[in-house]
Symmetry: C2
DNA sequence: TAGCATAGAATGAACGTTCGATCTAGAATA
DNA sequence: TATTCTAGATCGAACGTTCATTCTATGCTA
């Protein structure tokens, strides 16, 4: 059993943690370059600077490495949203940070791994569960933040409106991740400005409960 | 050489086309279920109802099958946009069709393959080229459509504004594709209504040239 | 009979994983 | 302090499997 129990000396734990991080960094890079299934343990171990067999001291199998990468990536996301929610002037912070968020989400290398994860979620139930759990956390944070921002405008919405607004915001951000790959000529700075504008619009918009609940358009036929 | 030249009899061509379609359908299904690299020729051939070796009569190798799948998927997309542009009452058609578009893009099975393709585009240059060429066509269609829709409102925008609005619209659609995977509880019909609303807002919004060209916010630090 | 369609076995490379051998650093002992 | 002991860290070869691709043989059709 490579996983250390209670009796481990701190220095040993630290070494193990370092090794694990090494492996995950190498794996992330390989997954980015070759995809989850295209990346081999041989390549990962080579990039991590250790033998192939040694990988199995820290991870049960390749699936476990994928799971750990997904978890680590999503943990980072959840933490970011928690920080935003902890800010004092939520409304302006939200608008200001949205620019930073756009620049970050449009980073091509990072986008590659994120999309790999989402694609994997459509076929790997365990990855799907992890992704959805993290999404719940992030969305809850964002909903809470939006609620406070809108309350600063004297608006008191029902939960549904907040959820829907949050979903649109999330869709724009995650959509930009896809856009930057489909269209690499996209001006990131300009998109950041536009998203700020859209955020202001959404924060200032009237309660979406007023929107028609059903439509008699072409969607009904589908 | 398995690729047939000019001298082929129509019935043979038809047979070959049918076989090719069979293979592509099976491959699409396998790529959806296992990913590009996780899907084996053995599985594809089994689902297509033929031997593994026979696949190579119609495609040079696995890469060629991937390329053909990507091409076919994108051709369909390009055709859809061309149809929209050919419509007479462009503005209302655009708004009405956006609902249908939302429902279609939120189909989980189809989303899986589309995301697989985008993820592959981040690491496979040939797939990237195909994806970007198709995106150019689609976006040009959408820009032209938006121009006509806004002209119906008496608005005459410069190219940059149209491009930017189009990118935001595209981001929302492609973002919803990701959202429906991250959050399967999302109400598709409701999202269709909301997107219609957003489309109306964008078509009616003033020229985005008025928006500040640069921002002195946190994005500048990045 | 000529030529294409098809099957399925054969091939060699690459894969994930296992395993026994070696190394190393610190604890225990003398 | 010098020596021995020991457990985890590390290696790299080996295993069985699966992969993409090729090859050969057989059927079918015109």
């Amino acid at each position: 059993m490579p996983i250390h129990g209670d009796g481990c000396i701190p220095s040993e734990c630290k070494r193990a943690a370092t090794r694990r991080t090494q492996i995950l960094d190498a794996a992330a890079e390989c997954f980015r370059s070759y995809g989850f299934h295209g990346a081999s343990i041989a390549r990962i171990s080579q990039l991590a600077g250790m033998s192939t067999g040694h990988i199995y001291h820290y991870f049960e199998n390749k699936e476990a490495i994928i799971a750990a990468i997904v978890q680590r990536d999503l943990d980072h996301l959840v933490m970011m949203w928690a920080e935003l929610r902890a800010s004092c002037d939520v409304r302006e912070t939200m608008i200001a940070l949205s620019s930073k968020g756009v620049i970050e989400i449009m980073d091509t290398a990072a986008a590659g791994l994120k999309l790999e994860i989402v694609a994997e979620a459509t076929r790997n139930p365990e990855v799907a569960r992890t992704v959805r759990a993290a999404d719940c956390c992030c969305m809850a944070s964002l909903i809470q933040t939006l609620r406070i921002a809108r309350q600063a405008d004297g608006k008191h919405d029902d939960e549904t409106t907040l959820i829907e607004m949050t979903e649109v915001i999330a869709a724009i951000f995650e959509g930009l991740m896809v856009r930057t790959i489909r269209n690499p000529t996209l001006d990131h700075q300009r998109m950041a400005v536009i998203v700020q504008h859209v955020m202001r619009q959404i924060i200032a918009s009237p309660d979406w409960g007023a929107m028609p609940q059903d439509s008699h358009d072409m969607a009904a036929k589908a």
